[in-house]
């Protein structure tokens, strides 16, 4: 007769194998995939990150004492894995964003608007061009800013929790978040996305 592994709270060492891992996986795989996809922007990379995360979690289970929430623990593992994996893949060097670069220098830049007039975000995101522009803007963000943006504004975690996950104090989290948001705003404005919604584009999940 199998004893079901404790879900939460985890008081003692981990999670008994192998049921414990199965529960951990089942309960959290969708969450971590969503995070991975938001970070990587692409399904196969996201799945690689998910696997890497759960592999590390599997190996770390015996030492996990439940000092953090399970989800926080997994987010942290995923975030570190993502940084490692990115380093291996190379890509453009990470650059810093400064506030100065977001200061509007001309009348027009204040006025650059994202066409959201009277639309709910879901309605606005029916526009394929806008969806793609948003994805590309986030993709273009240097990783450390993208991570803060995804964790805070998409995963909906508190600044404190984001700090725990990223190894930063709250002020640093908020600074990165702010720059990330300004960057994405500027990317969306600059593209001059068409107001003409593609009503034929059908469902959102194409």
């Amino acid at each position: 007769m199998r004893t079901p592994a404790p879900k939460t709270p985890l008081q003692r060492p981990a999670v008994q194998e192998p049921e414990g891992f199965d529960t951990l996986y089942r309960d959290n795989v969708d969450l971590i995939y969503r995070y991975a996809y938001r970070l990587c922007g692409e399904a196969e990379l996201a799945k690689d990150l998910v696997q890497e995360t759960f592999l590390n979690a599997y190996q770390g289970l015996k030492d996990f004492r439940g000092e953090a929430r399970v989800s926080t623990w997994l987010y942290t593992i995923a975030s570190r894995a993502s940084i490692r994996m990115r380093r291996k893949r190379k890509g453009e060097p990470e650059y810093k964003l400064s506030l100065e670069e977001f200061v509007p220098t001309s009348e027009g830049e204040f006025r650059l608007q994202i066409p959201m007039d009277g639309l709910s975000p879901e309605e606005a995101l029916q526009n394929k061009e806008l969806r793609q522009a948003l994805d590309q803007a986030i993709e273009k963000l240097p990783q450390k800013y993208r991570m803060a943006l995804v964790l805070r504004d998409m995963e909906g975690l508190s600044a404190k929790e984001v700090g725990t996950i990223m190894g930063l104090n709250e002020r640093a989290v908020k600074s990165r978040l702010h720059r990330a948001r300004l960057f994405v705003r500027r990317e969306l404005s600059a593209r001059g996305i068409s107001h003409h919604d593609d009503h034929k584009s059908g469902g959102l999940h194409s």
Binding site: F21, Y25, V29, D30, Y33, R34, Y37, R38, A43, K47, V50, Q51, F54, L55, Y58, Q59, L99, E100, F102, V103, P104, E107, F110, R111, L112, Q113, I114, M116, P121, E122, A124, L125, L130, R131, L134, D135, I138, L149, D153, M154, G156, K174, L177, H178, R181, L182, V184, R185, L188, S189, L204, H205
Partner: protein
Amino acid sequence: MDLLRKLSAYIDDELPSDICREIRQHLGACPNCEVFIASLQHTVTLCRHRPTPQLTSVDRMNMRHAILDAANAR
């Protein structure tokens, strides 16, 4: 520039009320800033509603196998 620095905190409702009031007063007088802040707010809203695809159960199963294989190989 100083306003720019505070904007995220402003839209997240994290600023003390006296500073909020100052900013609102400025916004009342400055249509440019009002537009700018609105576009920043919209940006955040869009990020929050950004659609993400779901895993299929086949995906879940395959990944689980791959993880356990890798774990047992080490």
